[in-house]
């Protein structure tokens, strides 16, 4: 046979010698284990689940408008505060874990510690993916206790506390934030006001130097100077135009005007030119009928010459700008002449205006120039004041906006930006979740059988028997004289049958005891040492 198999068989046979010890051990261990299993305290798990929705329809609408509060961390905070501190004590008092009267602090400490160990709060994402917090969270509160009713009651209290604390805590935090904002705003308001006062004072004391929309002092000065030079250029233009106009009026225009009148002669012979024309015509007529010596012709000739003389005198007069001459010559009634005269007058007015303006700007420039040394400093001071004011104002505005947000946020919260929903009201199974006695009983049985086997093997290991004799003969260095087989197979068989009967009887008893134990466990049998003590005591 395979030596390994042989060896294993040897060990099994060797252990088999101690089967009764093993079986005894197994029975004792099993019974002891079952007693332990029956005396284990029950544990009921009362469970409640809350769905905390942080993703209400309001939330996207309020995005960026309200002060966001980190709900998850707040819930965690609540969880921590539930499991430790005065919160726990309140729950314990409410749930009857702590008596309402004062007790030894150490005992209280122990009771509270014990209680906090029975509480288990876990968070799961409602979407099933842990990293996805947007879908809202499901908080599962578990309380385990030996008493089902108490477990249920405590989970109910914990659930209430959990929900109210989360809401209350939020409100309180929001109020705190608002208070803070308000004090800050008041503070900034004061600062702004003083800033404004100082700015106004400064402006009053540095009138004229204040930068305007067009720029600062230098820009102003530059502008004034530019203005002066600009005006001067315009003045020069106006003057040159005036010269030209004057020249036109006294010269060619006037003559042309007179000439034009003469040539036309339609104006009723009022002016000299038309009279010259008339005289010429009269003379020509006379000459047709008379000779040159005719007195009429001589007279006519004289008249024409006089008129021509007068005409020449008139033109001369116009040339020198003589108004009377012009009037006499009727040039002033000429439209061209008139318009030139008009333009000339306009230019004269312009020049006068420009001169006034230039004087004004020049005086301004002179005035500005007086501040050339002090102006930059004032400007810097002003900028400083302005900056402070601006910063304060920006801060103030921001705070004001935040306050509005906070108020809005609070209103949003009370309108349900966080929604709590009790998914599972406090619930506990009628059977204790632990110990599952049938399973534990079976495990105890298996363990006991293993212990029995280990016992038998251990005894065999400690006291190995002579088996094939090879070990003995090899160790001793002597031969094996011989091997004698069993002498009484009948008797051995009978003994074996008795043995087997005994073993199966004992095993059957154990199995029966196991069945009874399982049956009892299914019908709620408990073995409590204190109860036994009481029974013995009574």
């Amino acid at each position: 046979m395979n030596p390994v198999v042989n060896r294993v068989l040897d060990e099994v046979r060797g252990s088999w010698r101690f089967r009764w010890f093993g079986l005894g051990t197994a029975i004792v261990t099993a019974v002891a284990g079952w007693f332990v299993v029956f005396s284990l305290p029950d544990r009921y798990d009362a469970v409640a689940s809350v769905f905390v929705d942080t993703r209400t329809p309001l939330k996207p609408a309020l995005q960026g408008l309200t002060v966001e509060q980190d709900v998850d961390s707040q819930l965690n905070f609540v969880r921590q505060s539930l499991l430790a501190g005065p919160q726990l004590q309140r729950v314990a008092l409410k749930g009857g874990v702590l008596p309402p009267y004062n007790i030894d602090p150490r005992l209280r400490e122990q009771l509270l510690g014990d209680m906090s160990k029975r509480i288990d709060i876990s968070v799961h994402s409602a979407s099933g993916r842990e990293e996805d917090r947007n879908a809202g969270s499901i908080y599962r509160i578990v309380y385990r206790d030996g008493n089902r009713a108490r477990a249920l009651r405590l989970v109910g209290i914990l659930l209430d506390t959990f929900v109210t604390e989360t809401l209350g805590g939020k409100r309180e935090g929001s109020e705190n934030a608002q208070q803070f904002l308000e004090t800050q705003i008041r503070d900034y308001e004061k600062r702004l006001r003083t800033g404004e006062d100082r700015l106004a004072q400064f402006k009053a004391s540095h009138i004229g130097l204040m930068p305007t929309e067009q720029g600062g002092y230098f820009a102003l000065l530059q502008k004034e100077q530019d203005e002066v030079s600009n005006l001067k250029t315009k003045l020069a233009e106006a003057q040159s135009r005036r010269g030209t106009l004057k020249q036109q009026l006294h010269g060619d225009v006037a003559i042309a005007a007179v000439g034009a009148q003469l040539s036309r002669g339609a104006n009723g012979g009022l002016d000299t030119l038309s009279r010259v024309d008339e005289a010429q015509a009269h003379l020509d007529e006379l000459l047709l009928r008379f000779t040159d010596q005719h007195p009429d012709v001589i007279a006519a000739r004289q008249t024409l010459a006089d008129l021509k003389k007068r005409r020449a005198a008139e033109i001369e007069g116009l040339r020198h700008g003589d108004a009377a001459a012009a009037a006499a010559s009727r040039a002033s009634s000429n439209p061209v002449y008139q318009s030139v005269q008009l333009a000339l007058n306009q230019v004269d007015v312009d020049i006068a205006d420009l001169n006034t303006e230039i004087r004004q700007h020049e005086s301004k420039v002179a005035e500005l120039r007086r501040f050339l040394d002090s102006a930059p400093q004032v400007e810097a001071e002003f900028a400083q004041l302005n900056r402070d004011y601006d910063v304060n104002k920006a801060q103030y505005t921001a705070l004001l906006a935040n306050l509005q947000k906070a108020r809005l946020g609070e209103r949003a919260d009370s309108a349900g930006s966080i929604r709590f929903e009790v998914v599972q009201p406090p619930m506990a199974s009628l059977r204790p979740v632990w110990p599952v006695r049938p399973v534990l009983l079976s495990e105890a049985l298996l363990a006991a059988l293993a212990a029995g086997a280990a016992m038998a093997y251990g005894l065999h290991y400690l006291r190995p028997a002579v088996t094939s004799g090879t070990v003995l003969t090899q160790t001793l260095g002597v031969p094996l004289l011989g091997v004698v087989s069993a002498a009484f197979p009948e008797r051995a068989r009978a003994a074996m049958r008795r043995d087997a009967l005994g073993l199966s009887l004992a095993g059957g008893c154990l199995a029966l005891a196991f069945v009874v134990a399982v049956f009892l466990s299914l019908h709620g049998f408990r073995f409590s040492i204190t109860a036994v003590k009481q029974m013995v005591g009574s």
């Binding site: 010698r17 091997v483 069993a486």
Partner: protein, 303 residues
């Protein structure tokens, strides 16, 4: 048919030399002297004694658990033939004390007495040797008890009383070539008696009284009582019995440690269970729970 039965059969036929026994196997029997021969040591003449004779009842022995079940004789005869062969060979190839063979074991219940009786019977079947079975297990005197000689004077009496001739205490049996020396009355000083010079004397006498005779000592377990240890110096050959699956290996080794290396002839494994494959294994020990006494003790029946 058992060894004893065939021997008895032979005896019934009037110890006729050459006569065929009732056994199927022809067994020529040479005339052997059942009376002790002249002793080599100066002792009171043995010839003068009329030895007590007992008849051995095989069925009684079997019921008492000292003979194998009917039907197993051939197999057991083979077992003991193997065992006795080297012992006998050595006994007649060395000095006189080599004919003194002691059988012991580590603990009681190893089947020592069973082995002694069966080995003695097997040796008695030898054509030209006889065997004297000495019950040296003073406290229990199992052999004396089995053969109905409890209370008979025996080895211890001879040791105690120097005037007593040990030859006169030897009991003859109806099995040819088998004599028995009972244990005698147990005394507290058994150890000292067995360790005394008188013991040496007696052993020398027993070894010398028959040149073809073997002396088989059934000793006490080595680890249980001190008597066997006192006796260990006497024989020239010592065999240890170990019961397969029962005798703790450590005990067997410790027992062997008491024995002088040169004298230890070997180990006899008892109560092995043969398998069909030809090997054997132990643990046929149903009815015992490991440490317990052997069936021989439990199923002791009255003679």
């Amino acid at each position: 048919m058992s060894v004893i039965e065939s021997a008895l059969e032979r005896m019934r036929r009037g110890r006729a030399p050459g006569a065929l026994s009732a056994v199927a196997v022809p067994r020529p029997v040479v005339g052997t002297v059942t009376a002790p021969k002249a002793p080599a040591v100066a002792l009171p003449s043995a010839r003068n004694y009329v030895h007590k004779r007992i008849a051995i009842d095989p069925q009684g022995l079997r019921n008492a658990g000292y003979l194998p079940d009917a039907g197993l004789e051939r197999r057991f005869a083979d077992h003991y033939r193997q065992i006795k062969r080297s012992l006998i060979d050595k006994a007649f190839s060395g000095s006189a004390d080599m004919r003194l063979i002691l059988v012991s074991s580590a603990l009681p219940g190893d089947g020592k007495t069973f082995t002694c009786i069966n080995l003695a019977l097997s040796m008695a079947r030898e054509r030209d040797t006889s065997v004297l079975l000495v019950d040296a297990d003073a406290p229990k005197a199992r052999i004396s008890e089995v053969f109905g000689m409890r209370g008979e004077r025996g080895l211890l009496d001879a040791l105690l009383d120097e005037s007593l001739d040990v030859e006169s205490l030897i009991v003859q049996t109806n099995v040819r070539g088998l004599e028995i020396l009972p244990a005698g009355k147990f005394v507290e000083s058994a150890h000292e008696l067995l360790a005394s010079a008188r013991m040496d004397q007696i052993a020398a006498y027993l070894g010398a009284r028959n040149a073809r005779g073997l002396v088989l000592f059934d000793a006490t377990p080595l680890l249980v009582s001190s008597e066997a240890r006192a006796l260990l110096r006497v024989p020239g050959q010592i065999a240890l019995v170990a019961r397969v699956g029962v005798t703790p290996r450590q005990a067997a080794l410790e027992a062997a440690a008491y024995v002088h290396k040169g004298k230890l002839q070997g180990v006899i494994l008892n109560d092995a269970t043969y398998t069909k494959a030809g090997g054997y294994y132990g643990y046929s020990s149903y009815g015992e729970s490991g440490f317990e006494r052997p069936y021989a003790d439990e199923h002791q029946s009255t003679q």
